[in-house]
């Protein structure tokens, strides 16, 4: 099958839609990163097997798998914490923590009997009553999904499914009703800003690239999601690959280019697989290749896998890597929109940005611009992780307060411990304290507060997280990832690490903080690319908001959060029942005590591995 015209594509899409509409019930099994780790694929297989086994009973009830009952393995549904997830549409019934042994009951009670299994429903902690519909769960009800619109509700491996829900409508709308300039104008008017971190205006970028002239232009999708603690792009590439490609097709039409690349992180093999499947299929049906749908528009898209280098998320380094070279950034006195890949004008946008382009063409620039705040329009996807109850993938309008995200969507801190900080922006961002919780999340506000939007990782920290340790963690991360080209970044980070190591060991006095601040300034001013310039941010922001923790290490020689091994001691309190579990598990045998009697840790031998505290059921192991 090959679509030779737009009407052929439309007819086919209508048929696909009819097939999807014929499902009176659809079962979606989440196979996103989180659920996959907890056995999502085994659930799909078990469901398939059970449905085959019960075919006679299904027939009797008039249920036909694949005709009026759909079973789909989807991308990330969002609430990873409660995975594996199984969702039923259109009733929005939502099962959490599903295991293979629940499947016979799911088929018997819910699919055949039409009844709910209360045990599998989502429960807000402390409240025993389950919530049946996911749309009634605060984690979902407060979301507005644009970039994640299809993730978790379609089969990412099926072009038919994407067409059935209106896929490629934006593309053929652009192709038939809009000139390339009108597409650029629409993106410009929507005030869409790049979702990868920098927040540069997408429309402005496209215009500059067109202005640069020349007959060869390149288009790149940046799928090198390197910020630790962020997996929005992974979820989109795995869960809705066709939308990413459709966005790129619209972009290629607007920028009048026929060569595009997707650069995907090496750690995301499933994203590569799903994108490649999509590209192959689109080539087969003539939506990619020469003379698409009988028009003069041609486009080829190639996937390149990264080599596991964080710096390759930086645009100029990424382009060097695409050329097969070492991924070193270059100074940007000439922007990549003028001289990028192979020194040709190049537009690079992030995965989430490309999917937003599709929504903008479908719904109009004003619709998008109306959402969010004055200077940050639309919505933003975040991965809400760390010490928060509902970890997972969310999308909210720009301008939503951090407090709303953490407490209403996230459900608050695990075990209701005190909130300490939230980290945004990855290694270039910073940590914000409780006093900043009511800030609206948008590009400019976060930057003013000393952090940044970044790609959308939001890592929540409680009182058991040491801020010096977090700063050291990012510095350590960046030492490994600095490409080594410029001195302020390469050597600055090493010196910073040595200084922070002294803080962690309680080795030094207050003057060390002054030295750290001077070094930070030097790195900020002297580094070549954004990696080095923003490298001091985690240190600076923790020094601004959590200076007393640095002082506690240096002056009092303690780690208040109980994290920094050189400054902490484990001990067993009166709650000990003498069950001996800790003593049996201690790898260095430093815990002594008889059965039913208080145990004692020999802190001379203790390696602070934390096993005793993890296995103790009575909270008897304390750290100070």
């Amino acid at each position: 099958m090959k679509f030779r015209s737009i009407s052929e594509l439309r007819d086919y899409a209508a048929k696909a839609n009819k097939k999807r509409e014929a499902y009176t019930r659809q079962v979606f099994v989440c196979a996103g990163p989180g659920c996959l780790a907890r056995g999502g694929l085994e659930i799909v297989q078990a469901l398939r097997d059970e449905l085959t086994k019960r075919k006679k009973d299904l027939d009797r009830s008039g249920i036909k798998v694949g005709i009026n009952l759909g079973l789909t393995e989807t991308g990330c549904h969002g609430l990873c914490e409660a995975g594996p997830l199984v969702t039923f549409e259109p009733d929005k019934l939502f099962y959490t923590h599903v295991s293979v042994k629940d499947i016979p009951e799911v088929v018997e009670t819910t699919i055949l009997g039409g009844k709910i299994i209360p045990r599998l429903l989502y429960k807000i902690s402390g409240n025993g009553k389950g919530i049946a519909r996911y749309t009634d769960i605060p984690f979902y009800s407060h979301q507005t999904r644009i970039a994640l619109r299809n993730v978790g509700t379609i089969d990412p491996k099926s072009l038919d499914d994407y067409l059935a829900i209106g896929g490629f409508k934006a593309f053929y709308k652009a192709l038939t009703k809009l000139t390339p300039d009108q597409v650029v104008d629409a993106v410009d008017k929507s005030k869409l800003r790049g979702r990868g971190g920098g927040g540069y205006l997408t429309g402005k970028k496209w215009k500059s690239c067109l202005k640069a002239g020349g007959d060869v232009r390149y288009l790149i999708c940046n799928g090198d999601e390197g910020d630790p603690g962020a997996f929005m792009d992974r979820a989109i590439m795995e869960g809705d690959p066709y939308a990413v490609i459709e966005g790129m097709m619209i972009g290629a039409y607007a920028l009048q280019t026929d060569k595009a690349y997707i650069y995907v992180r090496n750690e995301y093999p499933l994203a590569v697989k799903h994108l490649q499947l999509a590209i192959d299929r689109l080539r087969e049906v003539g939506l990619l290749g020469k003379k698409i749908l009988g028009t003069d528009f041609s486009l080829n898209i190639q996937i390149n896998r990264g080599g596991g280098a964080f710096v390759c998320g930086e645009s100029s380094a990424l382009m060097r890597s695409l050329e097969g070279k070492v991924g070193e950034p270059r100074a940007k006195y000439v922007h990549s929109v003028v001289a990028g890949l192979y020194d040709k004008p190049t537009v690079l946008n992030n995965v989430e940005t490309w999917t937003c382009v599709v929504a903008i063409i479908n719904n109009g620039a004003d619709w998008f611009a109306r959402m969010g705040t004055e200077n940050s329009s639309g919505t933003k996807a975040f991965s809400l992780v760390g010490k928060v109850k509902n970890t997972g993938l969310i999308e909210v309008p720009m301008g939503t307060s951090i407090r709303h995200i953490i407490y209403d969507l996230g459900g608050g801190i695990i075990n209701d411990r005190p909130f300490k900080a939230v980290q945004t922006g990855g290694p270039s961002g910073g940590c914000l304290p409780e006093s900043k919780l009511d800030l609206p999340v948008d590009f400019d506000t976060l930057t003013q507060a000393g952090s940044m939007m970044g790609s959308g990782g939001m890592i929540v920290m409680d009182d058991r997280t040491c801020m010096v340790d977090v700063a050291k963690y990012f510095v350590h991360f960046l030492i490994e990832e600095s490409c080594g080209k410029c001195v302020p970044c390469r050597e600055g980070l090493r010196q910073m690490d040595i200084m922070l190591d002294r803080v962690v060991h309680g080795n030094g006095d207050e003057s060390l903080i002054g030295e750290i601040e001077r070094l930070s300034d030097a790195m900020k001013l002297g580094s070549l690319c954004a990696l080095g310039q923003s490298a001091p941010n985690p240190v600076m922001s923790t020094l601004t908001y959590f200076r007393e923790e640095y002082l506690a290490h240096l002056k009092d020689k303690t780690c208040p959060a109980g994290v920094c091994k050189p400054l902490i001691t484990y001990f067993i309190n009166d709650a000990c029942t003498g069950c001996m579990v800790c003593a049996r598990n201690c790898p260095v045998e430093c815990i002594s005590g008889e059965k039913n009697k208080l145990h004692v840790i020999d802190s001379e031998i203790c390696t602070r591995c934390g096993i005793c505290s993890a296995v103790c059921k009575f909270n008897a192991v304390e750290v100070y």
């Binding site: 630790p228 080599g307 490994e480 934390g610």
Partner: protein
């Protein structure tokens, strides 16, 4: 070590013989040989017409590549921020102790390699380690023993 050059041929035919194919070729070489044998790199450099120095530059720059043979099974400990705040350091320390290798190393029997990765994108299940292809979510130092023990008894 003897390396079978014949296994390289199918990889070379997959891509155009130019510099831009280099990283993809190296990825396939690593998938085939489990590391990048220096003999192979020299042949690849000749085939796509770039200096040996440049291919070794690329091979040592990117973290995904190893110039040393790696273990049959790769244990990847995620060191992303979400894993870090939920105790990834303790997981790493304990694995180093049990396997008697430092991170980045391979056990002497070439059974396991212990690698650290900066976020595998499974942040909601932190801390995570991947053994082979299998994700082990929500780890704690005491649960680790079971995973490794299960693996060892196989």
């Amino acid at each position: 070590m003897n390396v079978d050059l014949k296994r390289l041929q199918p990889i070379l035919t997959r891509y155009p013989k130019e510099e831009s194919s280099l990283i993809m070729i190296l990825q396939d070489v690593q998938a085939e040989f489990n590391y990048l044998p220096p003999e192979i790199l020299i042949v690849v450099a000749r085939e796509i017409g770039i200096p040996k120095a440049r291919i070794f530059g690329v091979a040592t720059f990117y973290k995904a590549f190893s110039l040393e043979p790696r273990g049959d099974e790769i244990i990847k400990v995620c060191m992303g921020t979400a894993c870090h705040v939920r105790g990834a350091q303790l997981i790493k320390d304990e694995l180093e102790r049990q396997l008697e290798v430092k991170a980045g190393g391979t056990t002497r029997d070439l059974r396991y390699s212990l690698e650290l990765v900066n976020c595998v994108g499974a942040c909601a299940m932190a801390p995570v380690a991947i053994v082979g292809d299998k994700y082990h979510p929500n780890l704690s130092p005491d649960r680790l023993k079971k995973i490794i023990k299960v693996k060892k008894s196989k």
